[in-house]
């Protein structure tokens, strides 16, 4: 029940970053440290997809690479917020990242989206006194 409330709370109250930007992207919230698989829509003329993962706490990219698949399984830090983004590339150029408003390239469910992966340590339960 608590996990459900956390997820609902996070969806209803998205993260406000310091610059005022509101991220309303695909959100994964999880207590565990198991890997997360992220998938996106195929782009017809793409030969590969390049991706980056940015740690909000570390203020730096913590992963980057490319794949010919339309999904990737990530191992992200056990706690904190990782912002994942992907762009489509062909032999000559790449789109801008899918989290932009350019829906011509990589999208999720037809919408331009980034991904926010929220990880947190499960707290102890309610304190009691005996």
């Amino acid at each position: 029940m608590k996990k459900f409330l956390y997820i609902v709370g996070f969806v209803l109250f998205p993260i406000f970053f310091a610059n005022g930007e509101v991220l309303n992207h695909t959100i994964y919230a999880d207590y565990t440290s198991r890997p997360v698989t992220i998938a996106w829509d195929a782009v017809s003329n793409a030969t590969r997809y390049e991706f980056e993962g940015y740690s909000y706490e570390r203020k730096a990219n913590i992963l980057a690479g490319s794949t010919q698949q339309t999904q990737i399984t990530l191992t992200v830090p056990k706690t904190g917020i990782t912002i994942f983004k992907v762009k489509a590339c062909n032999d000559t150029e790449c789109s801008i990242f899918a989290e932009s408003t350019d829906a011509a390239y990589a999208t999720v469910d037809g919408q331009p989206k980034g991904w926010v992966i929220l990880r947190y340590l499960e707290p102890a339960g309610d304190i009691g006194i005996e």
Partner: protein, 108 residues
């Protein structure tokens, strides 16, 4: 010799598999309780059969008579801390009341 009752705090453990200890934050009641507050490690006690961890406050070693706001967090092997489970205005009373006066026997 007076008899002082034990005071236990209880809490269900975190479900995260990589927890290495629990940490208790504490302030005098009414002060600001946060991650900068004084704290003490509770170790990682095993839960009892009812699923709760019990900690005898007298063994924690930092409390004296008074009212406290307390919080417990789980800490993983990387030093990350969970959100805080809290309880406000908790009375810790470790002092037995004064004994009654000398008992006398009156023969009537």
């Amino acid at each position: 010799m007076a008899k002082v009752r034990s005071i236990n705090i209880t809490f269900p453990p975190s479900g995260s598999p990589d927890v290495v200890e629990y940490r208790m934050y504490y302030v005098d009641a009414g002060e600001v309780l946060n991650y900068d507050s004084p704290n003490v490690s509770l170790g990682k006690p095993d839960a009892d059969t009812d699923g709760k961890i019990r900690v005898d406050i007298a063994n924690v070693g930092v409390f004296s008579d008074g009212r406290y706001d307390i919080g417990v967090v789980a800490v993983d092997d990387a030093g990350n801390e969970s959100s805080m489970s809290t309880m406000m205005d908790v009375p810790f009373d470790f002092v037995a009341p004064d004994a009654p006066g000398t008992v006398e026997v009156e023969v009537v």
